[in-house]
Symmetry: C2
Subunit: 309 residues, 2 copies
């Protein structure tokens, strides 16, 4: 099956929405503009076989993960995702059902978020599959949340439970689009980022962009079951180290006025009873990232990795 | 040098424009919306080492080609390109200067077209470099040109000279953005497509989308010097076959009212004295693609390849 036949087979099943004037099948997709008062959001990301997934990964999960990563980035700006395009690198003699299943996973997640998949290319990639996604979103000009708005005294929150994502969650995570939209309506964050490199690393991006520091409370950091499991293995990281440094959590990390912390936790519990939300520390004027434990306060190393005794 | 250091080095040099609210460095780029009455255009494309360029290709040319392919697609809709994001797949131990030069070529072409490069990712790609670009453009709602508008009786035009692109032009072609914008202002095409798969193949896409056929005049097809050179080689295609079937010309193929053919050719010569424009045939009600030569009219095979005696 050549590229054209494959595309003919995939195009009728692509997720669509009311903004699409014409999708795949012309030189470009043609799309309705966003409403007045909205910014465009634009993001690209890619997953590579052997790096972000393995030859054994369920193909639906590959499509889910590739799109989910971009959705998570749009969520981190408090935006709504709209349109995606896909570049799929395929080795020779690729299996057509596998490619169709990659698209099944991608389309399913797209439909959940009313995202239209409006085009794509397949290219030869001799050794391994890669899947590059670009996503357009929108956000109200006065609601866009950057990394750079954190203020001393802000409370620091994180959704979900962290660490050990590679045990499985990195393939089936739910990007926090709905949660971010609810936040921006009810408790507008000062700064927000999604966790892809690990809590310590991504928090440092946020702190650097905001020109502030932070103190984390070790006992408040929500640790995933997978991270606890792995900590029992002889060579495993401690569970706290995993929660601080494992990548691909795809949770939201955000800051807001300390005074709003308790009302937020209350309201969140009612609105999202199945999704954990934790206040894990505070923003400080003193730069750098510190961790408060029973033993005292220690500085986290610049690379985000900390070796716990 | 790790990914973060590399990005720190590249970001200050990225092409920008007045539409950028915030570019690389946050979870998404934030961009001003397009003016009322405009559609968004959206396109992605990728180039892969060993497929679209070789390890010996000048790195600036890799960046130029990757972006140029997307610009050519925006041109084919008569649009203006605005914002690009980049995903760069890099083998371990990549050479930093080579990556910087890829971006130099990309930024140079972006600046020529006032395109902002607003973000990107680098990912591990163990065996070979790949470069995936996604591009947002805009076009007036009443000026957008699709593949599907060709009408029987239309004259068929192509810019430039065709064939033999792999001898070098595929790496330094100039996407026909300015020409397409001029066309849509002065001689609005009924249908347009850019030539990436070869004249015969891309014309068939246009014919299929429009539900029409075409007759090409063999003697009118503009043949590049590279195609003529290669035809002299013992194993070479004939020059006409090369012009019909070689890929990566990145010229514009379009149709308009037959009555406008002569005025267009006149005005074009004044406006673009250095760029060839050829009327190469006409659109017909009878489906299929035919070639008129001295010996008569023959049908071109479905795969676009024709073996000339």
């Amino acid at each position: 099956m050549n590229e054209f036949d494959l595309i003919q087979r995939l195009v009728p099943h692509l997720a669509t929405n009311a903004g699409v004037v014409s999708g795949a099948g012309d030189d470009c997709a043609v799309l309705k503009p966003v409403e007045p008062g909205m910014y465009l959001l634009f993001k690209t990301d890619a997953v590579v076989e052997g790096v972000h997934f393995t030859p054994d990964t369920a193909p639906e999960a590959i499509g889910h993960k590739a799109l989910g990563r971009c959705l998570s980035d749009v969520a981190a700006m408090a935006g709504l995702p709209l349109y995606a395009v896909v570049t799929l690198g395929l080795p020779p003699n690729f299996e057509v059902p596998r490619v169709e299943q990659i698209y099944t996973g991608l389309n399913r997640l797209a439909r959940q978020h009313t995202v239209a998949v409006v085009g794509g290319e397949t290219v030869a990639s001799p050794e391994r599959i890669f899947l590059s996604i670009a996503l357009i979103g929108k956000v109200e000009m006065d609601k866009c949340v950057h990394r750079s708005g954190a203020k001393p005294g802000d409370a620091l929150f994180v959704t979900g439970r962290l660490g050990g994502s590679l045990a499985g969650r990195h393939l089936d995570f739910e990007p926090r689009v709905t949660e971010a939209r609810w936040l921006v309506e009810h408790f507008p964050p000062h700064a927000m980022i999604d966790l892809s490199d690990g809590l310590a690393g991504d928090l440092k991006h946020l702190l650097r962009a905001s020109g502030v520091g932070a103190e984390l409370l070790a006992s408040a950091i929500p640790i995933s079951r997978a991270a606890r499991q792995r900590a029992k293995e002889p060579s495993g990281k401690t569970a706290l180290a995993a929660a601080l440094t494992d990548g691909e959590d795809f949770e939201l990390l955000f800051t807001l006025n300390g005074a709003e912390a308790v009302p937020l936790l209350d309201r969140w519990k009612q609105r999202f009873p199945d999704t954990h939300l934790s206040c894990i520390g505070k923003i400080t004027q003193i730069p750098g990232l510190r961790l408060r434990t029973k033993e005292g306060v220690r500085t986290l190393a610049e690379n985000g990795y900390v070796h716990f005794a």
